[in-house]
């Protein structure tokens, strides 16, 4: 049994709001750059970039991060994830970097992403935008921009579907049936 948390329209509204919040907090788009965490953070970051362009008429720098090599669980677990490309083709110096991911959960992915980012340079600041914050942090990490806060049981799974990857826009809770 699945229950929907956000439909396409709500996702689009959340992205609009986050775009405005990013611009408000950073006083415009002048010094910001968006970095999407693979896989679905990339689509999210592209949508934020497009929205920011609509609002400010300015295309901000955009990068893609694959955090696989920075994970803390590479030697545990079940399966090896396929390594994809990291593409950060601009200097991070003097930039406010907004990391984008679909779901914020334990915070371990974000820890890995921050480490990866620091290997590329020294940004002025790193901020975090997520579509869903579901709680259960295991590290002292908090988001700056949140689409929706969703208190969840740890055993549940939150699934984000985005058009670019999945052909539809939808966020839902997956109930495990065993």
């Amino acid at each position: 049994m699945n229950s929907t948390l956000l439909n396409a329209k709500e996702i689009s509204r959340a992205i609009s709001r986050i775009s405005h919040e990013i611009l408000e907090r950073n006083q415009g788009a002048g010094n910001i750059a968006l970095v999407g965490i693979r896989t679905r953070g990339v689509a999210l970051s592209q949508r934020l970039r497009d929205k920011i362009k609509d609002i400010e008429n300015l295309t901000v720098d955009h990068g893609v991060l694959d955090i696989t090599l920075y994970r803390d669980d590479l030697t545990k677990g079940l399966q090896k994830p396929a390594l994809k490309k990291t593409e950060i083709l601009f200097a991070l110096e003097n930039k406010h970097i907004v990391l984008c991911d679909d779901v914020l959960f334990t915070g371990r992915t974000i820890r890995a992403a921050i480490d990866a980012l620091m290997d590329f340079g020294r940004p002025s600041s790193v901020q975090l935008a997520v579509l869903i914050d579901r709680g259960h942090r295991e590290l002292p990490i908090r988001p700056d921009y949140v689409g929706k806060n969703v208190p969840t049981a740890k055993s549940k799974r939150i699934q984000v579907l985005l058009n670019e990857e999945d052909g539809e826009d939808k966020v839902f809770i997956q109930e495990y049936s065993n």
Binding site: L69, K76, K80
Partner: protein, 311 residues
């Protein structure tokens, strides 16, 4: 996804899917070598031993750099500085090294089959970095990566391998890997350097360089292994060069976009002329760059294994 084998001993054991995965992974690793800080923490705390009983600069350095860019600790042991000089057997040396708990062993040896023999006594994954005239799988993989980077696809290409096929581990590894990937292979050289048995591998055999490279996409020039020419298979190097040195002239019937690769080290003027080596067709240095990415991919796929996928 994991590789179907825990050791990389021969390209024969690599499936199409394995090769695809290694090349894709290596493609992603290329970017790390272009960063200001050329290091990721992936294999922190892992130990890699390079056990080289034969001289090597390219391959040993490449494996060492690959390990270090992944944050592994890399230890180099060369034949002349090891206890084999005091009479210790290969198996004993390897067993003693294993007792120090390395996570991976990279082995080069002058005898064919030495790495495969060690793999029977050692639990750690072993990568064959060249064994006698047998195989050199990581070289074949980096050649495939170099070709794929230029051509996009491997399936359906035609490659000529020119030179001392008899003594070439690079040729053996490449023939198998290329055929797995759907590449048509033609081997070219003087009859004494092309053993008759090679026809059973399903390759075309030619003794005429100019004709053989007429319509190929890639020509791979092999080094004339001066140290392995003592049996008198060649009457003289000059005679060999007259017929098989890849020169601008010998390329006159070849395609305009022909790619030239060579596993190194190059004997300039013997198997390839200086101008061809420096021409826009030559990918010799791309091969060296890609070698690091391929070896990073092998380490990663053999070691960083097994992973859960939380959100």
């Amino acid at each position: 996804m994991l590789l179907s084998n825990q050791n990389i001993l021969t390209t024969k054991e690599l499936t199409k899917q394995d090769i695809q995965q290694i090349l894709d992974t290596a493609d992603s690793f290329k970017e790390i070598s272009t960063r200001a800080i050329k290091k990721v923490p992936t294999l922190r705390g892992k130990t890699i031993i390079n056990l080289f009983f034969e001289p090597s600069t390219r391959t040993r350095t490449s494996f060492e750099i690959a390990g270090k860019r992944l944050s592994a600790d890399v230890i180099n042991i060369s034949g002349s500085s090891s206890s084999t000089e005091k009479g210790e057997s290969l198996i004993d040396t390897a067993r003693n090294l294993e007792a120090m708990k390395p996570d991976i062993l990279v082995v080069r040896h002058k005898y064919s089959g030495a790495p495969a023999l060690l793999s029977q006594f050692i639990d750690s994954p072993i990568i064959n970095a060249g064994d006698g005239s047998h195989e050199h799988p990581s070289q074949a993989l980096l050649d495939l990566l170099t070709i794929r980077s230029q051509k996009g696809e491997l399936e359906g290409l035609k490659v000529a391998i020119v030179g001392d096929i008899r003594h070439s581990r690079v040729a053996r590894s490449n023939i198998q890997a290329m055929q797995t990937m759907g590449i048509k292979v033609c081997i070219v050289g003087p009859p004494p350097l092309i053993p008759a048995e090679f026809k059973y591998l399903g390759v075309e055999v030619s003794h005429n360089l100019r004709e053989a490279i007429k319509d190929v996409d890639v020509v791979m020039v092999l080094r004339i292994q001066l140290e392995r020419q003592k049996q008198g298979l060649l009457s003289s190097l000059r005679e060999y060069s007259n017929y098989f040195c890849l020169t601008q002239e010998s390329l006159d019937k070849a395609r305009n976009d022909i790619l030239i690769i060579h596993p190194g080290p190059v004997n300039r003027g013997i198997e390839i002329s200086l101008d061809v080596m420096e021409s826009k067709h030559s990918l010799i240095l791309n091969q060296v760059t890609n070698g690091v990415a391929i070896r990073m991919a092998l380490f990663y796929l053999l070691l960083g294994e097994k992973n859960a996928n939380p959100n």
